[in-house]
Symmetry: C2
Subunit: 291 residues, 2 copies
């Protein structure tokens, strides 16, 4: 099977998927993106992702390059052409091609690129295995609520984690509070048993998986608090985990090398992972087609 990408209206072989060097995404990081999970051929939380894309585009004043409905159709087609049952769709919208000047060009047409790839099917047992995080100074800009491709800070901090043998870096703001991971949201169960994740504001991205987990918790009568927490609270937490489109609910078993709980997935984390698993299974009314 040869991979197919969608680039500005055309489905092309992955190797030939190219954009102009003056695409503002390439010269200015002037664009936004989404990563959407495909679970049993269904796009998970498609509406949530499209709503967030709408927010990101709006904040950058980029017009939708097609209707959200048409984008759904293209996503479905990319999934189909790449024969993906379990995987992800990556989609990127930039302000388009224009001679290089910082300010918005008068007549650029937004560019759309979509790729997809398989990942191993979601499995509760595999996903229960914990990972390490380190903490780093949050060096990012002041609008982390927009899901932009201006990701170099995240890249540098993720690389720092990788070199430390950790999976993720939890970023810490000037007040010593954890903001989020470089590509994930951060959660803890405090030593007193409170389920906590940071409130959304311009310091973190409003995660779609984060929202789904909150909703699932609420439905199950599990209380949680949206507030910031310190590195010390994280290190002394009973449980910790992160949420993201590709990691779902993933236990964190060490923070800066210090063991969290007993080093295995915590009780509440396991319950939330089960609830999220059910949430994914319930997508698209369980039908085996893209929503």
């Amino acid at each position: 099977l040869s991979r197919i990408a969608y680039v500005n209206g055309r489905y092309v072989p992955h190797a030939e998927a190219a954009v102009h060097v003056e695409d503002r995404g390439y010269q200015f990081a002037d664009g936004v993106y989404e990563v959407i999970a495909v679970h049993r051929s269904v796009l998970v939380d498609e509406k949530g992702h499209m709503d967030r894309l709408d927010w990101s585009l709006g904040e950058l004043d980029i017009a939708w390059p097609m209707t959200p409905r048409a984008m759904g159709t293209v996503m479905g087609e990319v999934v189909r052409r790449n024969r993906i049952r379990d995987g992800i769709v990556y989609l990127q919208v930039t302000r388009g091609v224009a001679p290089r000047n910082h300010e918005f060009p008068a007549n650029a047409e937004a560019a759309v690129v979509m790729t997809a790839r398989r990942i191993r099917p979601f499995n509760v047992e595999t996903n229960s295995q914990g990972i390490d995080v380190i903490t780093v100074d949050d060096i990012r800009w002041k609008r982390c609520d927009i899901k932009t491709i201006s990701l170099l800070p995240n890249v540098l901090m993720k690389e720092q984690a990788a070199r430390a043998g950790a999976y993720e870096a939890w970023m810490v703001d000037g007040e010593g509070q954890v903001t989020e991971g470089t590509s994930t949201n951060a959660w803890i169960v405090t030593k007193d048993g409170d389920l906590v994740t940071r409130q959304t504001d311009n310091k973190i991205l409003s995660g779609i998986t984060r929202a789904a987990v909150m909703e699932a918790a609420q439905s199950a009568g599990i209380e949680f608090t949206e507030r910031s927490f310190t590195v010390d609270e994280a290190k002394t937490a009973r449980e910790a985990f992160l949420t993201s489109t590709t990691l779902f609910v993933k236990p964190v078993v060490r923070v800066d090398g210090e063991a969290i709980g007993n080093g295995h997935i915590g009780t509440l984390t396991a319950r939330l992972l089960d609830l999220y698993s059910a949430h994914m299974d319930g997508q698209g009314s369980g039908k085996d087609s893209a929503a």
Copy 2:
């Protein structure tokens, strides 16, 4: 004349200059750049730009894709093929193409793109015409000393300036101090007559034109201080100007709508513009070929 771009080892027509959608410059803003002026067919301050590129690449741990000398040859060739006597060379180096993951890929080869375009020849009289700046909250990340393509914040602030009818936005940090413009360095002559530009640290880019102006000032016995200054100092300044590769020494005659001096280029600014003009004329021993 059809424009020619250099893309990863090949000289191609501008319209066909393309990079893969998984070039990390496009997905992560994982790259750096330089803009170099061409004055009478000579690259202005080529060594300064190559030294800064070396700094930027080093901070991102990207290996030089070719020697600085070879890069000089390619720049000269791009200038020649585009028949540029007065203009700019834009060059961009990214970490290269790799499947999308935040951390550095194991085996990516850095990608190099170069374009060039003509601009109207430098002219002291034209360049003496003043422009407006506005002041905005500096929303950027904490490593503005690296010349990266992660420029979305700069784009947004430059657009804000354009919508306010100004040419540039001077960014103001949390302490009320001006850092720099979105693509230029900021200078003032205080009401007491002190020539001031901000010290270099991780809040501003170490401008090549800024350095050339400082050197020219020093040679001419003009004193200056490298320190941060407030918006209020800027608004009550006797003179103000900005420096950049494409604007050289450019008078600022209004800050947030308030006139600076008498609304025309100031005496010291004019002198520095003359000195910078001489600096450019003295490049490459005045020979009419790319350095």
